[in-house]
Amino acid sequence: MKAKVHVTLKRGVLDPQGKAIAHALHTLGFDGVEDVRAGKVIELTLSSTDEAAARKEVEAMCGKLLANTVIEDYAIELVA
């Protein structure tokens, strides 16, 4: 089973990278861009075949290492 973890800065935490990307897009003429938030995607290949167990394990990984929950939110996507 594969898991994709999306890590983004929490709402309310300034994202200077997202701001810089938005600024560059405006410079390129993409005037419709209202806001940009930049984050990262971490792909994990897991031995587990049980979705519930895998989700629980990845949740624990996010809490311990993959995300810093003081400033970041995470979302887990499991792909069989």
Binding site: L14, P16, L66, N68
Partner: protein, 229 residues
């Protein structure tokens, strides 16, 4: 005063810390490798600056979970003084010894300059040799020094005297606050609740000799030696 300096792959300011500590205490500090699981009996643990684990994932995140950090946390719980400078501040914050988090500089640029700071609390062995409100100059050199904590945490840090240093402007700078990285409330360094742990982005160990340009960092090491010898 006996001190240990924790060295990670990618640390690069450990020798600066050795020089500053040895000059102040007359005793050579122990260098402890990140894979070690035990620390010698010491009065002070320094987590130095650098780019541990290449700053992968988040600055300090990998180092915070290395074997030696379990021991550093255990010693900190016993009241052993811990000083985290720059990457060391990031590491001990990721390890949960201090509240908040350190993020990418607001201006997205690596900042390397001499920085003016105000000493906010002198009731600690780290800052006892300074005067409250004293302006000091330490070098800064970081890309991820933007300290962030939620408003309630910042209020608590202020209320409990846990803010150790704030960035201030030298009159020649355009930014009236002199804040190099957009840290919340201009925070440059904080204590834990017992003021036995200090983390800060600027480098006091690089302002201890005439050749450094100033010696404003020396009172920190002299104060530690006086308190811990």
């Amino acid at each position: 005063m006996k001190a240990a300096i924790v060295v990670f792959p990618g640390s690069n300011r450990e020798r600066d810390a050795v020089a500053a500590l040895e000059a102040a205490s007359g005793t050579k500090p122990h260098l402890v490798w990140h894979r070690d699981t035990e620390l010698p009996k010491v009065d002070l643990i320094v987590v130095p600056g650098g780019f541990s684990y290449g700053d992968y994932l988040r600055s300090g995140a990998m180092a915070a979970h290395s074997p030696i950090m379990r021991e550093v946390k255990a010693r900190a719980d016993q009241g052993v003084r811990v000083l985290g400078v720059c990457n060391g501040f990031q590491i001990i914050t990721e390890a949960g010894l201090l509240p908040g988090a350190l993020m990418r500089n607001g201006g997205l640029k690596f900042v390397c300059r001499v920085q003016h700071l105000r000493v906010e609390n002198t009731d600690s062995p780290f800052t006892a040799k300074y005067a409250k409100g004293q302006i000091v100059r330490y070098p800064v050199a970081h890309g991820d020094g933007n300290y962030w904590a939620d408003a309630e945490t910042v209020r608590r840090l202020d209320g409990e005297g846990q803010v150790a240093f704030r960035y201030v402007a030298d009159d020649s700078r355009a930014d009236p606050r002199g804040n190099p990285n957009h840290s919340v409330s201009d925070i440059a360094g904080i204590f834990n609740a017992k003021r036995t742990v200090l983390g800060l982005m600027p480098h006091p160990e690089d302002a201890v000799e005439g050749l450094h340009g100033n010696t404003d960092g020396k009172p920190m090491f002299d104060g530690l030696v006086e308190a811990l010898s």
